[in-house]
Amino acid sequence: MAVMNMVQAINSALDFKLKDDESVVVYGEDVGLEGGVFRVTEGLQKKYGEKRVFDTPLAESMIIGTGVGMAAGGLRPVAEIQFSGFIYPGFNQIISHVSRMRNRSRGTITCPMVIRAPYGGGVRALEMHSESLEAVYGHIPGLKVVMPATPYDAKGLMIAAIEDNDPVMFLEPKKVYRAIKQEVPEDPYRIKIGKAKIAQEGEQITVVAYGAMLRTAQQGIAKAKKDGISVELIDLRTIFPMDTDTIIESVKKTGRILIVHEAARSFGVAAEIMSLVNEEAFLYLEAPPTRLTGFDTIVPFPMGEDLYFPDADRVYHHIKKVVEF
């Protein structure tokens, strides 16, 4: 087994699928010759040629919209949007077509497309480079929304996403890209989309996190452990369709839940999880479901971002608050 960071793990998944399936194409701004601004597609154009791994003009609606056409034409497009903050020009294609083609055509035309984008903050990036809009994609019927937290998961989920016959928004935590290394098999494997993972078993409180916040949660939990608090940590992995069962079972056991995400609070992913818990485990609750999230503000420029993103201390603080309720 090799040791890989997330960039390498995703590259390895793309490499495998390009080799495995001739209908896979990988494209977007700078993904070809340069291998992407984060180098996720590095080396792939050289290996598979300019037809299969290619640069496009600078236009996100086109990147996504041509994918709809490529998919109808029998390809499996894997499109990169350079930063998730630049998906917005392509929203119409996502909402009106990517997510709807199967239903609109009663299954006769599908859109097996993966839209990859690095998301999230905490890396002192430029404006518009720190966003996290997974709740929005989760609210669009017809999409699947995947957010890996580790290199291992990223590879297995990416292979599953490309093989999925439905469109997948694949949001990659750029903060994690090179921050974690892990043993990752060089051979292909799949991780089921729609299944959460119990990252750590525990008894007193369920913490749900995903993407870059998983690590933050783990750090906060480590602090709580010193106080003797036993935490069950769920790595959500998929935002939609959400693995409600895993969450509910855990909450039925612990009676308490804290959800952590970096996205803005109102109408965020935590709200949905809190609602599901209300609907399916209300009588098990020993404390109000609680969320630790970004503010309902714009992500500040780097000089302010530390105040915005949840950190280990705040996770710890919130765990204690919920446990002590």
């Binding site: 037809k51 609606s61 086109m62 919209g65 041509t66 056409g69 109808a72 294609q93 009106s96 959400m242």
Partner: protein
């Protein structure tokens, strides 16, 4: 050749047959047998009957809102007829009915769609046909992507996509054209310039002299044709298809035509245009001139017309009847096509609703 000689920047428009059915440009007259020309006319006439009936049914409250095609039959049909419907791809907007019917959609499909069923979008397996695209111009990048898949696979296909004068203002028009230009893809971008985007006239849509002028910005040839002249539309599209099929890249065609009817059945054109203008364009109607042409050649007459229309109406009525008897959309169908495999969360919502409905029945 047409693409070179009819440069829109030089104010040239291709017209082969004038309003009286006279051939005014023999040189560029496409090679079509008499049978083919009669076939073409019949298709257009049939499409017009489907269209007129649709409006009539809508007025009776038996169909929902729909966009009439009156006056645009030559642009739609002439372009489609120039392609190979067993092989090429059609990427429609929502107002090219004659092309759809030629490509393999039936009057029943269309009526079903306007009666409010997704099933109207299901087209025969052996044709390449995208569903109607409601968000204006959003289909243009799809056509470019299809073009990419064709070039990728090296198959001998061409894509045609339709959009209106209004559609040229959307970013997706620009982005899709640009992509096709850069990758030299086999795509025909066919603009039905029917002079209006709902109430907004062509001149408010763009300050470009001609919409076909826009092609130059994407490094592709553009040509403007008289969109009510079947022969001009056919000839230009035929050449564009050959050009594209030969690997020369995309072409933009602007067909100047006129929406003689309502934008949709909810629209009232008297709000924004004059009766004189409408009368003037009525004279330019594509079917009138085609009929004159055929009559002069002794290929058609009023009797034939009446017979054919009668036959068409009967056929159309029969199809409409099927639509009226069509079962309502079920809960199952609402959920079934969302994903290949229904996720648990959808299953739960479906079951919850089924239980509710069962309980209601029970009461």
């Amino acid at each position: 050749m047409l693409l070179k000689t009819f440069d829109p920047l030089k104010g040239k428009q291709l017209r082969i047959m004038d309003e009286n059915g006279e051939i005014v440009d023999e040189k560029n007259m496409p090679e079509l047998t008499d049978d083919q020309v009669v076939e073409a006319y019949k298709y257009m006439l049939y499409a017009r009957q489907v269209d007129l009936k649709a409006v009539a049914y809508q007025r009776m409250g038996r169909l929902f809102t729909l966009p009439p095609n009156l006056g645009q039959e030559a642009a739609a049909f002439g372009s489609a007829y120039a392609l190979d419907k067993k092989k090429d791809w059609m990427v429609p907007a929502f107002r090219e009915m004659a092309a759809w019917l030629y490509w393999g959609a039936t009057a029943k499909d269309l009526y079903l769609y306007w009666a409010g069923s997704e099933d109207g979008n299901v087209t025969p397996d052996d044709v390449n046909f995208m569903p109607s695209a409601v968000p204006v111009a959003s289909q243009v990048p799809h056509a470019a992507g299809l073009g990419y898949s064709i070039k990728y696979k090296g198959t001998d296909q061409v894509v045609i996509t339709y959009f209106g004068d209004g559609g040229t203002s959307e970013g997706d028009f620009h982005e899709g054209m640009n992509f096709a230009g850069v990758f030299k893809l086999p795509v025909i971008f066919f603009c039905n310039n029917n002079q209006y985007a709902i109430s907004v006239p062509r001149r408010m849509q763009s300050a470009a002299k001609n919409l076909a002028d826009k092609a130059i910005g994407y490094g592709m040839p553009g040509i403007q044709v008289d969109g009510n002249d079947f022969f001009a539309v056919y000839a230009a599209t035929k050449e564009a298809a050959e050009y594209a099929r030969d690997g020369n890249g995309p072409v933009m065609i602007e067909a100047e035509t006129y929406r003689r009817g309502y934008h949709t059945t909810s629209d009232d054109p008297t709000k924004y245009r004059t009766a004189e203008e409408e009368a003037e364009w009525e004279k330019k109607d594509p079917l009138i001139r085609m009929k004159k042409y055929l009559e002069k050649k002794g290929l058609w007459d009023d009797d034939k017309e009446n017979d054919y229309v009668k036959h068409a109406k009967k056929d159309i009525s029969a199809q409409f009847k099927e639509v009226e008897e069509y079962p309502r959309t079920s809960l199952e169908q609402i959920f079934k096509y969302m994903y290949e495999e229904m996720p648990d969360i959808l299953k739960k919502q479906k079951v919850e609703m089924e239980k509710y409905l069962a309980g209601k029945e029970g009461r």
